[in-house]
Every structure is written in structure tokens, then in C-alpha cells.
Homo-oligomer: 419 residues x 2
Amino acid sequence: MALKHTVQAADPLSKARACRIELERGVIETPVFMPVGTFATVKTLSSIDVDNLGAQIMLGNTYHLMMRPGPEVFKRVGGIHNFMNWKKPVLTDSGGFQIFCLPNSRKITEQGAIFRSYTDGKLILLSPESSIEMQQAINSDIMMVLDECVPSTSPLEELKRAMELTHRWALRSLAAHKHQHQSLFAIVQGGTDLKLRQTSAQFLTQHPFDGFAIGGLAVGETKQEREDMTEVATELLPKDKPRYLMGVGTPVDLLEAIRRGVDMFDCIIPTKHAQQGVAFTSNGKVNLVRSVYKYREDKLDSACDCHTCENFSLAYLHHLVKCKESLGWRLLSIHNTRYYIQLMKETRASILEGRFMDFYNQKIAAISVTDTELEGTSGILLPPALFQSKSRYGALTSSEGFEAASVSAVVESSESSLV
Amino acid sequence: MALKHTVQAADPLSKARACRIELERGVIETPVFMPVGTFATVKTLSSIDVDNLGAQIMLGNTYHLMMRPGPEVFKRVGGIHNFMNWKKPVLTDSGGFQIFCLPNSRKITEQGAIFRSYTDGKLILLSPESSIEMQQAINSDIMMVLDECVPSTSPLEELKRAMELTHRWALRSLAAHKHQHQSLFAIVQGGTDLKLRQTSAQFLTQHPFDGFAIGGLAVGETKQEREDMTEVATELLPKDKPRYLMGVGTPVDLLEAIRRGVDMFDCIIPTKHAQQGVAFTSNGKVNLVRSVYKYREDKLDSACDCHTCENFSLAYLHHLVKCKESLGWRLLSIHNTRYYIQLMKETRASILEGRFMDFYNQKIAAISVTDTELEGTSGILLPPALFQSKSRYGALTSSEGFEAASVSAVVESSESSLV
């Protein structure tokens, strides 16, 4: 079965809502935060850890999983759930966002995106069909259509071209989607143009997708523009289907989007900030690199019930961060991920009890003291420069791009030979 | 109280023995492996993890802990146990071995070793007295005397000079040792010279140390030389005190030393090999980088009860190692550390049941197929080259060395100011 969606409560003073999404592998209660398991692991955490943190669903990145371990492994072991020992639902993105992060080493054609594998340098065509094929191999519970993601502040013509291509690709994805136990979400594009966003939402909602995402945000626009686009998109999305704001964001970003009617989120911020020694707490953001924490025997967040806060002091966390010990990254990843999950749980309770706006006002006041510093960093899975540095191979030449586009749309496995 | 030591069983066919060491913070049953918590964390693991793995005692490195977090933190928070939330015993080394790893940026005088802090470039004098002072601040349960560790294959004159200095430093350490709840171990030196080893053991055992370590091995000699020196040292060490072989080694090395009468071990091999994707199993060493594991749905070691083996497949571990995910390092650290602890537990049972040599023969046959490749890497905490690359500061000039030696023997805190 595809997912079953129920709205359980709608806030009277905003568009916030609490929903229930039933999937074969479990029920998701929204608003929900999905930890990002890029390579079938949320950085520093195992599936057991993520389960212990109370996550209801995890995200996997199709682009990265296509490179490693590759589709063949998923086919042989029976999908990502067996592979990583995670029994709850998984949502996979389409790979579109990661392709967007490769501006100098990919080529977009009508057929799809051609890029070089960073594991072996082979050319790969990521098309709507091959993305669905890969997501079927991964056997995720919710799949995303391949979209073309351009900078949200691109010229109108460019935004329109990318949106229209995204629409054609969405219909091809729908046609390629064969496994009825998997759900498929479409992605509303249109950059920061209100009319394009409306057009995109109106077009996509005429087709039988199981849910809708808002894509192409957190990639260059202001916080206000992001919130306006979110508002306009949710206005046109059907009430009876899940709404997912991709790649966003800080705790404040999530509250702003929930207020505007969004149900689902994913972001690498909790683990990325953890790597940099930054924690989210009920009193705002804490930078553990600072020596003011050197002798602090109290815990990171007195309101938190996570493993880190229950067992370790600020002084110890500061020390681990200073020593660049991977345990520091892990303990802060545990805390930050729990913080996001707990924030969603509290938000949901406030919606169910009809007091969301009070909760929202109180939370925003409590946590945005330091949180504003994070603006502009939300949602970027990997900064383009960092991302490209992972490839040992050069940019595509135009002839290479066209050659690959004209051959068959097969996803090449990166490491098919045994050594 | 200092430690209380009881021999519970002695193997009839070898010098292997099972002992019980009582300390204020817990009982240690030997043979025992002590995971190395360099910076107050066993790499990738928290104190809770190490406890769950069944460790009875953890090792801390005085040299590193002196740099970070520094003595002041330990004084303020009440020692390493509170700092890292570890309730069981801790053994601290003296810093001597790490100083040995800095051949171009330290100077040894009668007073002690002078070196530059790698955190702020300040000159630090590590003397027998300042090492004990630091270990008292750390508040470890077992302290080690400062020794001069030279390459085990140095010329006889050099080995003799270093041994005699080590003896004078041992007596100064004993004099500086004030806290009766802490125990103090001396270190037998003498390189690969049988007579010097005997002289060293005879000298040190005349003084009221609580236990004796065999130092200066696993630093250049052959496996046979190491085993001969171990044999000669244990021959002369008192039966009623613990014997500790510092920095050794592979699983086979441990069995060889136990056969020769050693009770206690520490080594970074379990976590260091984990970082490189190498695991120890009941069938020998496994290199998870190899693509032969790509599709293997079975577990790493069917005889292992660790969290990793109970939850994850070879295919998943191979994938994490290939992706250089820190979770791979962690899951293999969990497995390898558990492997060492379980090996010591099984070895102890065989001694208590009078069947050690059968156990030894069976184990050596089962695990040394691949294990021999590890020879020569055991015991080096940090390779000197790697170690030195951590310092932003140059080598000592001779005048700097003498200046520092002539000033007071105070351990400088590396980060005393708050920012």
C-alpha cells in the first residue's frame, strides 16, 4: 500500500497541523524531523542510536548510495532496511539536489543529468527513470521524483525552464514507479517567484502523487523569501497529503515552516553543527569550542533527556571538542538530533492541544538569541566547493556529456568487481 | 589503601596466573586488558560504552592529559573519574613513553624531560615529581613512575645509562607519592640486554612499589627478543605483586606474555586497527577494506557477542569502512575492544581451570594465520613522525632546553586563561 494520511489537528491561529502518516514499516506522527543518513548512516550514529533517539523515519541520499554501496548491494541484501538494520520507514531523495551541487561537473539534458562517479570516474546518467530504479533497489518507503534544482534567485527564464523540466521529469517518475508498497512525492519548484511556485503546485497536484515537497529553497534566498515561498506553496497543496520542506533548516526555520503548514523536514544541521562543536539547547545555540565551558560541571541542556546530557558535563564536551575527538562529534550529534526530535514532539503536542502559537512565540524567544547566526547555512547538504573536492576526476567536457546522454540510461555500479 | 593483590591460580605447565587486584574503585581480575583512553576517551567510545564492553580498568595518558584538559580542570572537577564519568579504576602512565616519541623536540636531563607543549608552544618540564603531581591531579588509581624509554636495541652503554636514570627517577617518584589511595608501579628497563633487565628488576623490587611494569619493549626489538625479555623480567618480579607489560600488543603477543607470567596489558591496537578497517576475530584478522565482504550478509565474528556483531553485517561494515564513516571506526572499535576483553576473560577461565596451555595452543593456531602481519606495529602509541606533526612549534634548541631545566619544575597549564 502507499501511505495513508490523516490530519489529526489543525491550529486555529496558523496553518500548523498535526498529522498521522501510515506506512507499512511504521506510523509517522507530524511535524516530523528526519535525520539524514547520507551513506546509510546518520553521521557518527548507528541505526540503533537513531532509534533510541526516537526518530520515526530516516532519510537516505540516492546520489551517494548509488556510488556506495551501489544498487547491486541493495538488490542482494533486500534494501536499505536490512543493510543498515533499520526497521522503520526510510525516505530517499532523488539525487537531484546533489547534482545541483556539481555545477562544473554535470550536464543537464532533457533525458537527465550526466555526471562522473567520484568513486571510479565513470559517467553516470541520472534520469527520472534511473533515479526511481535506484530508489526501488534501495527499497525506501517514500521516494522523491528527480527535479532540477537551480539557485533560487536565478533569472525568471531560468527558474521557469527548470520548473518545466522538473514537471516533465515528475510525470516520467510517476510512470517509472512500479512498486506499490513505495510512495512517491513530487517536488514543487519555481525559485523565489511567487507565480512560478503557484504554477508548479497547481500542475503537480493534478497528478496522483502521495505527497508533495517544496524544493529549491535554502539555496541562496533570504529567510523571508523562503518563508513566503513556503506559505504560497502550502496554500495550494492538498490538505489530505503530506507536505515536506526539503533540506531545511535551523530550529527556528522549522517552527516558521510548521506555522505555514509544513509537516516533514530533513536537514544535516544537527550532525554538521555537532562536528563543529555547536549544540542546540532550550536556551539557544552553544558553541562548545569556547573556553568559558572549560570548568563547567553542569550539563549542556538541563531540559534535555539525551544520553549526552544525562552522562557528560559541559567541561568534558568542551575538552572533546578541543581535542577533535570523534566522541565529541558523536555526543553532540546525539544531543542535537534528540533536540530536533524533541522539538517536533513538543510542537506536535502544542498543535494537538490548540496552543501552537503560544508555544511558537515562547520557543522563538527562547532559542533565537544565538540561532540567527545560522541563517544562510541551512539546507546545504554539502557546500559545492567541498563536495567537488571529493572527486578525483575533472569536469565534464561537452562531448563527454552528450555521448553519455545518447547511450542507455543504465545506472552503473561503482564497484562491481571483487578484489 | 593501596591495592591488594591475590594470586588465585597458577598454571602448572607455564608461568600463566590468574590474580585478583583490589582497588578502592573496583576489583580487577587478571589477565586484564586496559583500553587506552588517551585524552580521557578511548577513541570513538564513551565511558558508558567501555563499561558496557566489560572493561575493568581504563588507561589514561598523563602526557596528553597534561596538555588537554590540563591539571587545573582535574583539580576543579575532582579527577578523571568525575570528568569522564567512569567509576571504575584508572591507570595513568607517566608520560615517559610519549616523551620518547619526541626525539627531536625534547631534552632529557637528570632533572627530567623538557619539551614544548603542542597546544601553546610553552616549555614544560616533566620530572618524576611533576609527573606524580599530574597523576595526583588526575587522581588515577594506579600511577606509573617516570622512566626514560630508549630504543630497545640501543648500544649497551646507552641502555645502561637510561636504566640507571630510570632507577633514580623511580626513587624520586616514590618520594613524591603522597596520596595513599593511589598505587604506584615501577618500570623495569634495560632494553634487549638480559643482564640489564635482571639488574633493573633486582634493583626496583627492593623498594616498596605496589606493582611492576616491563617497559621499553615493542619499540624496535624482534618478537623473540620481546618474549625473552618478558620471561627474564617476570622471573625476578615478586609473585605477590601485579606485573604489567606496557603498550603490548596483538592478541598473540598477549597470550605469549601471559604464558610468561604477565597480568596486565594496554595497547591502542584495538582502536587503531579499527580506524584502518581491521578487525580481530576468533578466526584471525579481517581487513574490511577488501571488497570480498561487499555482499556478505553474515556477521563479522560468529563467536562474538558485541553490539557490532549482534546488529550489523560484514557488508555494512565494509561499506562504512569504504566510505570512511566514523561509525565504521566506532563499530570496529567496539568489536576489537570486546574481542580483547573477551580473550582475557577466556584466558583467565582456562588458567583457573588448569587448562591454559591447551587453550593457548588452540588460540594461537586459530588466530595467528593473519595475525603475524601485525608484528612490529604493537605498542607504538603514536608513530614519532605522526606525533611530531601535531606540534606547530619547532624542535628545542640546546639553550632553551637548559634554560627550562634550570627554572622551577612546575607543570604549566596549557590553557589557563578564559576567553
